[in-house]
Symmetry: C3
Subunit: 320 residues, 3 copies
């Protein structure tokens, strides 16, 4: 029996939605990275715009608030010359008791081209992608604990930029892996792109042993977990975890899992340190590391615009 087609691809195997890196080929992911490379150089030009999406409408549908991520998509869309519409979706249709799919059908009828969807529930962007008209493309801007594919791709772009090749890399993801859509998407992307070894590091409550099923190695001790790594990805510790049942306290967390210059010496001398932001200084990362020579946190932000331009221009250019 033929394997069912990945719902993110059309019959030609081209990307029409971007919901999760899971199940996508190395070619598809590499094409995103290569396209983004072209957009990075735009920043050096006098006029930082290209007309690829002129006349197209991008709707930012943020059911969960995130000014920063929304803004990066808005910048990316405007640099592609698209018109951008920010819908305060929580206040509007949802408040009027309209169903998600009715809201989506209505917005599709306004001749939307791209929906950028952030939702607190895992699976919502996929549900939307299954119901939109053929002319609409869905880009997941983070859904529940499920996936954050553009964050994963900007992480991959950053790693490739600084390390060139994935095949010899040892990468550690440190922190609240259990609740992190970034960690899940990073693991899928790193595995597909051929990283030599992916590790997850954190307390047992936040990094359960069964993560080994995703093909990663599990560590509960920071120094051991980042030993000889080329890349250390620190995750943001959500405030609601800090004083909850899962952790003793943020001070204790920092003591055990906060990345200090001393602990970083366990990684390779040329290891890069990444973080999806916003950072909690003194919780998961020390300021000396965040602002230090191995940190590539701000380049991640810059590359994020280019990666989102790449994803939107690719999906909008392919027909369902």
């Amino acid at each position: 029996m033929a394997r069912p087609r990945n719902p993110q691809l059309n019959a030609n195997g081209e990307l029409i939605h971007f919901i999760t890196p899971e199940g996508l080929s190395r070619d598809v992911l590499t094409h995103i990275l290569d396209t983004a490379s072209n957009f990075v150089s735009l920043n050096d030009r006098e006029v930082k715009k290209v007309p690829l999406l002129r006349g197209k409408s991008v709707f930012n549908l943020f059911f969960e608030n995130s000014t920063r991520t929304r803004t990066t998509f808005e910048i990316a869309a405007k640099r592609l010359s698209a018109d951008v519409f920010n819908l305060d979706i929580a206040k509007s249709s949802a408040a009027k008791g309209e169903s998600l799919l009715d809201t989506i059908a209505n917005l599709s009828a306004m001749a939307a081209d791209i929906f950028v969807v952030r939702h607190q529930d895992s699976g919502a962007p996929f549900l939307i992608a299954q119901h939109v008209a053929p002319h609409v493309h869905v880009v997941n801007a983070g859904d529940g604990r499920h996936a954050h594919p553009t964050q994963a791709m900007l992480d991959m772009f950053t790693i490739r930029h600084f390390k060139q090749d994935f095949s010899n890399l040892r990468v550690a993801i440190v922190g609240d892996v259990l609740h992190s859509r970034v960690a899940r998407s990073d693991i899928h992307a790193l595995t597909t792109l051929g990283a030599a070894e992916v590790r997850v590091v954190g307390p047992r409550t936040l990094v359960p042993a069964d993560f080994t099923q995703m093909g990663v190695r599990v560590f509960h001790q920071l120094e051991e977990g980042i030993q000889d790594c080329d890349v250390v990805i620190m995750l943001r510790l959500q405030h609601e975890r800090m004083n909850g049942a899962l952790l003793p306290s943020s001070q204790e967390y920092f003591h055990q899992y906060g990345l200090t210059p001393e602990k970083l010496r366990h990684a390779k001398p040329d290891a890069i340190v990444m973080h999806p932001g916003p950072i909690n200084r003194g919780v998961e990362i020390a300021s000396e590391v965040a602002d230090g020579p191995q940190s590539v946190i701000l380049p991640q932000v810059t590359f994020g615009i280019a990666v989102r331009m790449a994803v939107m221009s690719i999906v909008a250019g392919n027909e369902a």
Copy 2:
């Protein structure tokens, strides 16, 4: 004595504000519909923009919140290449104790071209139109129970699209007619465009007998009211009515006035079903009807963009 000029028209009889269809000629309304026809075809083009309002400033002044309507005007204005400014008007000047007319005078002084006004009070857009500088055009996006003229014109556009000619049409408007600015504006537009018969249908508390003064027939029983109709316009039942003094309950309302496939059989077999949205499934309309072959609810949304483009380009093109 000469009849006073309609304040929506200039000395040449051209539309300079659009506050209500009431008192406008069939020619003026037909010109809006014909202009909108040209814009509908834009959706099929690669670049969905025209430069008609390039360099013009459209201000969305929503004193009453409505993300959906605001968004349709924003889309329409951007497709005309205008710059759009969404003012969170309730939070700003009003909060600082500034009067409506001072706010308007200030915004006019910023060289605005079009004010799109939604206000909870009937008459507010008209008051504004009387006080703006000559270079400013006012479009009413719904005021109190008074008027919702662009919704009426998109309804007319939809009817003409599916039924070609108004002169033989029997149209029923069903639901909370008493509190509905959509119903009032639809009645005025349908009458002016020459519909053969307009009916209003609903419980006595929401459809008082004196609606006959508007030239419509009043019905209190759904099956009888839509009998042999060509067009059935369902109105949204506001949540505040559902358990109030005016109605027994939303279940009882659905039982008597909710449009089901069985009840719809009383209308003509080729009748179209319309709704201004957002719909309350299982309150005023059954899902089988909303999603059924006679529903034209989503085409209404699409046509709404073209109609709002038409209205804005017409008023901005005429001098006071």
Copy 3:
């Protein structure tokens, strides 16, 4: 020892940030006014846009809410063809516990060109300007009681428009001078541009005697304070002052310091009356004056767009 360079200027003495008129030369301020003159005439053209900032990104960072000021910057930036991003900054990064400088570093990394900053704390825009990347320009849209330089320059533009030359002018600033960033910036700009005499007028609680240190004359009686003045700038009385310890009541304030037609007769017959808006009718100014022939309050608003276009185009055109 050489005098340290003004941090708003580059090594060539060109404006790269606009934080306060204090310390800037008459040439720099006059260049802003002259540039704004060119933009005022734009309003008469069919297409009110120029491509000076095409492809540039302007971020509105309003830590303190001000829809009106934000909108004027948004209009100005779009008329320069920039892309504008309104960040609901209070709701976002600040809420996530991120530091001001981390937020700024992140936004800089998104290839921002101009930050327009409104902040409740005096000095915040200066702090930001000291930490941004060299490609970013900071424009202060009002910080604490410190400065509101674009308001001051639109006031200067209005005065020059109606009075041509500063050198013979007597200017009175009336009201809550103590808490007013507008008053402070107006005083600096008027002094630099060579106004013959600057006066501050108000009750002792709001206009302390030590204002003489700024080179102005202090008056506590309105009629005496505006006697023979060419320009009367009325300040907005904040609501929180009206019933506080500093003032008896708003009625009493109006009785003593509210500008009525009778009191205005003490100024020169051709004196102009200005106000930064929004006005409190019947508190600091009578309607007969606000709407009267000597009022230039609405021209101030119109000129404000041109002045903000001038400031943004000047700073963006100079390299750090």
